[in-house]
């Protein structure tokens, strides 16, 4: 012993400690465990590796992945990541802290969460945001549960099938067992009725079309239900906000705000609402306070909603958040500012529309939704076999043309240059020949 970097105990240390406790061996510390349950065999694990061997191991595994130029979205977007962010988020005072229970020595975490809440409110136009959720899809599911608890004696929710598939899948799982009726509809307004508590719609549909939600909030409210909008927060720099559409709750995934793709996570969900539903919010919330000398400070607040106090009567079982990813987004939004985030959208928009036009020119596609407005993600109707198309792109180092509802989707962010787009189009032109 004493030769493993993470265990500081020497043989002598162990002896001193055992003597204090009054037992003879480490095994004696498990005398309360029935012998049948002690695992005396060798664990079926690899031999311990040195740090350099661990490095080499992951390097070799990493080489088995194919690095592709990403022309796909569907909930995960390849946006530019400012160099500053990982340096800030890897500061170990942030990285190695727990949930800020002891506020006097956690003001760093509490302040950035307060900034995150503020920025989410400013992006969405909502009054209150929580400290973050696991991801966008689970935030959507929690918002629907929240709508049921905000309305009286209403037990049905209406879910737009225009939402992306991963959102639909998670919502379906979350709402399978609680006593909530879920109706899936392309046109949510047709399903309104006196038992509907909440309706969730996307601001950009699964096909990339920017939704015109005129009149939706009025109709939902007239039926006595809450409107939840699922949105891409990056796009909110330029698109009408959930508040402007009249939504009561806004949810979505913060990944588009500069979080690396990282094979699907960690990302961060957000959940914001109008102030009247504040006490129904799930999760942690940070509020401003004063200390005994009147100094401004920040604390976890409104905790009477939460599981550690209310147990089974809590608004949700969520007990943590994706704090460090909320910091990631907060630093991103600080760096980008209103102009930077606008520019991200303008460049993505320009690139996506350029690709759209160029792809149509190849003759391999037809328009799927002619004239419908889109931002960075769009669908086309393929006129060539999709598997051939996808394989050609992969062979040339591109990831795009995901199959979706009989169409193929592409996505262009500001990270994709005109040269990269031209190269992708050139590959597809070869198929046309």
């Amino acid at each position: 012993m004493g030769n493993f970097a993470y265990f500081p105990h020497t043989e002598d240390d162990i002896r001193v400690m055992l003597d204090r406790i009054g037992v003879r061996s480490l095994d004696d510390l498990y005398s309360d465990v029935p012998a049948d349950f002690i695992y005396n065999k060798e664990y079926d694990l690899p031999d311990a590796l040195s740090e350099q061997e661990v490095r080499n191991f992951f390097e070799e595994l990493g080489k088995k992945n194919v690095q592709l130029k990403v022309f796909a979205g569907q909930g995960a977007y390849d946006h530019y990541v400012p160099a500053v962010i990982p340096y800030i988020t890897s500061r170990s005072e942030f990285l190695t802290a727990y949930t800020p229970y002891q506020c006097e020595i956690s003001q760093g975490t509490l302040r950035y969460i307060f900034e995150w809440q503020s920025m989410i409110c400013r992006l969405t136009g909502m009054d209150v945001a929580n400290a973050s959720m696991y991801d966008g899809p689970s935030a959507a599911a929690e918002a629907l549960r929240m709508a049921v608890s905000c309305t009286r004696k209403r037990n049905k929710v209406v879910v737009s099938t225009k939402l992306m598939q991963n959102v639909l899948d998670v919502v379906k799982s979350y709402l399978k067992y609680p006593d909530v009726e879920v109706v899936y509809a392309w046109d949510v307004l047709e399903e309104l009725g006196p038992d509907v508590a909440g309706v969730i719609v996307p601001s950009i549909c699964r096909h990339g079309i920017i939704q015109d939600l005129s009149g939706v909030a009025d109709a939902v409210h007239a039926a006595g239900a809450l409107l939840i909008e699922y949105c891409d927060p990056s796009a909110l720099a330029v698109l009408k906000t959930p508040a402007e559409w009249g939504a009561d709750i806004a949810v979505g995934d913060g990944q588009s705000l500069g979080i690396p793709l990282c094979y699907g996570g960690p990302y961060v969900g957000f959940l914001a609402c109008k102030s009247e539903y504040m006490r129904k919010l799930p999760g942690r919330i940070v509020g401003q306070a004063s200390d005994k000398d009147g100094k401004r400070c920040f604390v976890l607040t409104l905790q009477a909603r939460e599981q550690h106090i209310r147990r089974e009567k809590a608004t949700s079982n969520i007990c943590s958040n994706q704090s460090l990813m909320a910091l990631w987004v907060t630093v991103y939004l600080s760096l980008m500012g209103p102009e930077g985030l606008r520019k991200v959208n303008e460049l993505s928009f320009a690139g996506a529309h350029y690709l759209y036009d160029e792809l149509l020119k190849t003759g391999c596609f037809e328009e799927a939704f002619p004239g419908r407005p889109f931002l960075k993600e769009f669908c086309l109707k393929p006129l060539v076999p999709v598997d051939v198309l996808q394989q050609k792109l992969l062979d040339a180092g591109f990831f795009g043309a995901l199959e979706l509802d009989g169409y193929v989707t592409f996505c262009v962010t500001e990270r994709r240059s005109k040269a990269e787009i031209d190269a992708l189009v050139a590959v597809i032109k070869e198929i046309a020949l």
Binding site: H9, D47, E51, L61, N65, Q107, E115, C205, Q211, E244
Partner: protein
């Protein structure tokens, strides 16, 4: 730690920027016109024709789709951002700052090689929907971690979708329900939860539409088998247990409990929040558990990140295996970056070091317990596992006209001495609960320093509890008025 009072918004100066993007998209060309129609969710709206000017967003999109209000984000330079967040970080205490004996949270050291692996560019750029043949390395990480966790726990396989422990509980309870429903056993809608359980257990059960039945602990702090028996029946979906329980005590009747629950047709769920003392020593699968979650951010050394991201993979035994892929509780593959870290940690541990992890954590906890039991009330004096609970001070200093020092006061005074506080007022079984978990990564010297400080605080309390009432004295802020903050919530700038 130095008090720093700015919010990023207060540094904003119109015209400053902290980003660097290309000036424009090179593909822009002369203006042209296309026909755009509004998305016809409403057929009544007539088609609209708009000019699309060189892919200029605002000129091309219908104006009613555009943001009306000004977006009020900070306008700051890169240096402003770096200094601001560096200043914020300096008001924070992490495991790298010092000893963090937070009970039930397993604040072990977070190895730095894990961070290097997690940000490896050959993994960081993978899109979650990439086809299988392009992500063989990522799949090997998932498969390798799955096999390692199965070996450590005695379960068959894991799903990595859950992003946290409570998320794992919810996923696991969904699996419990899938299992019963698939057998046509739809009446099983109740789940048994001990009174000492983590608050997330009943909350997760409620979110999963299960009714909670509480089983009492006996005077020894363990689930009382005789109290359990009458609760079992055809309406019981299962029992949720953590073992060792939140008092740090091993539930030694677990074999009997498993048999009783299985005989009544129920399943056993293992809350892996307290897995650390069993790491390398006892496997939940061998104790009869059918479903469990692990907290990779506790037992497997990944950083807590100020509250997340974590990872709460759920493992299952033979009975539940057919349903493992049913619940979809997160959007893609779970927190892959956290999985990379945990896998790196397990490879460093290997079959050799893993056997020492749990025993050394248990050794540290018992050492502190035995060293402090004269100053702090120890309600259950038996051998503990990774953590234990004191019930306040032996002598809280209370006297005529002066209130004694509470557990909260002890916690706040610890901050003055450079330690994080233990978990306080949990479990609920004891009014002055002070729950201490040291983990296996702390040296004897660190434990001795902590013990000395805890004794000193006990002496201070006996002498003058006001020293503790006023604590912390050396932190960036004093105690806040939390009641006022909740009464008039200010939740954004």
């Amino acid at each position: 730690m130095r008090y720093y009072d700015k919010l990023i918004f207060e540094l904003s100066h119109p015209g400053r920027t902290g980003y660097s993007l290309p000036d424009g998209f090179e593909g822009s060309e002369a203006s042209k016109t296309v026909s755009l129609t509004l998305d016809p969710t409403a057929d009544a709206v007539p088609p609209l024709t708009l000019p699309r000017v060189a892919w200029v967003l605002e000129a091309s999109l219908p104006s009613n789709l555009l943001r009306e209000s000004k977006l009020d984000l900070p306008e700051v330079s890169e240096v402003d951002v770096v200094r601001h967040y560096t200043n914020l970080s300096q008001m924070n205490f992490g495991v790298d700052t010092g000893f963090y004996p937070l009970g039930s949270c397993t604040m072990k050291y977070n190895p730095k090689i894990n961070e290097e692996i997690a940000s490896h560019p050959l993994f960081a750029g993978l899109h979650p929907l990439q086809p299988a043949e392009t992500v063989k390395g990522a799949q090997a990480v998932i498969d390798g971690l799955d096999a390692a966790l199965a070996a450590i726990t005695g379960m068959k396989h894991f799903t990595f979708l859950p992003c946290a422990g409570a998320h794992g509980e919810l996923t696991g309870l969904m699996l419990m329900r899938e299992y019963h429903m698939a057998r046509g056993d739809s009446a099983r809608t109740k789940v048994i939860v001990p009174d000492s359980a983590h608050g997330t257990n009943p909350a997760s059960a409620a979110v999963c539409g299960l009714e909670i039945v509480e089983v009492k602990s006996g005077a020894d702090g363990l689930v009382d088998v005789e109290s359990l028996k009458p609760l079992l029946g055809p309406d019981i979906a299962g029992i949720m247990m953590t073992n060792p329980n939140t008092l740090g005590l091993f539930e030694r009747q677990i074999g009997k409990i498993a048999k009783l629950v299985h005989d009544c047709g129920g399943l056993l769920y293992y809350d892996g929040a307290n897995m650390n003392p069993l790491l390398g020593k006892v496997r939940p699968g061998d104790m009869g558990f059918d479903i469990m979650h692990l907290n990779l951010h506790k037992t497997f050394s990944t950083p807590h990140g100020g509250g997340g991201p974590g990872s709460g993979p759920v493992g299952v035994g033979e009975r539940v295996l057919p349903y493992l892929r049913e619940p979809r509780t997160s959007g893609f593959h779970g927190n892959f970056g956290v999985m990379l870290r945990a896998y790196a940690y397990i490879l460093m541990l290997g079959k050799q070091n893993v056997k020492m992890a749990g025993p050394l954590a248990t050794l540290s906890a018992n050492y502190i317990k035995e060293s402090l039991k004269d100053c702090y009330k120890l309600p259950i004096p038996t051998i503990c596992k990774h953590e234990f609970v004191f019930d306040g001070l032996v002598n809280d200093g209370a006297r005529e006209g002066k209130a004694g020092a509470t557990t909260l006061d002890v916690a706040k005074r610890l901050l003055d001495y450079g330690f994080h506080a233990p978990t306080i007022y949990f479990p609920l079984l004891f009014h002055q609960a002070l729950m201490i978990e040291p983990t296996e990564t702390e040296s004897l010297e660190t434990l001795d320093e902590f013990i000395a400080v805890m004794k000193k605080i006990a002496a201070e309390a006996a002498e003058d509890p006001d020293i503790l009432h006023g604590a912390p004295h050396n932190a960036p802020i004093g105690r806040p008025d939390e009641t006022a903050a909740a009464r008039n919530p200010i939740l954004k700038a």
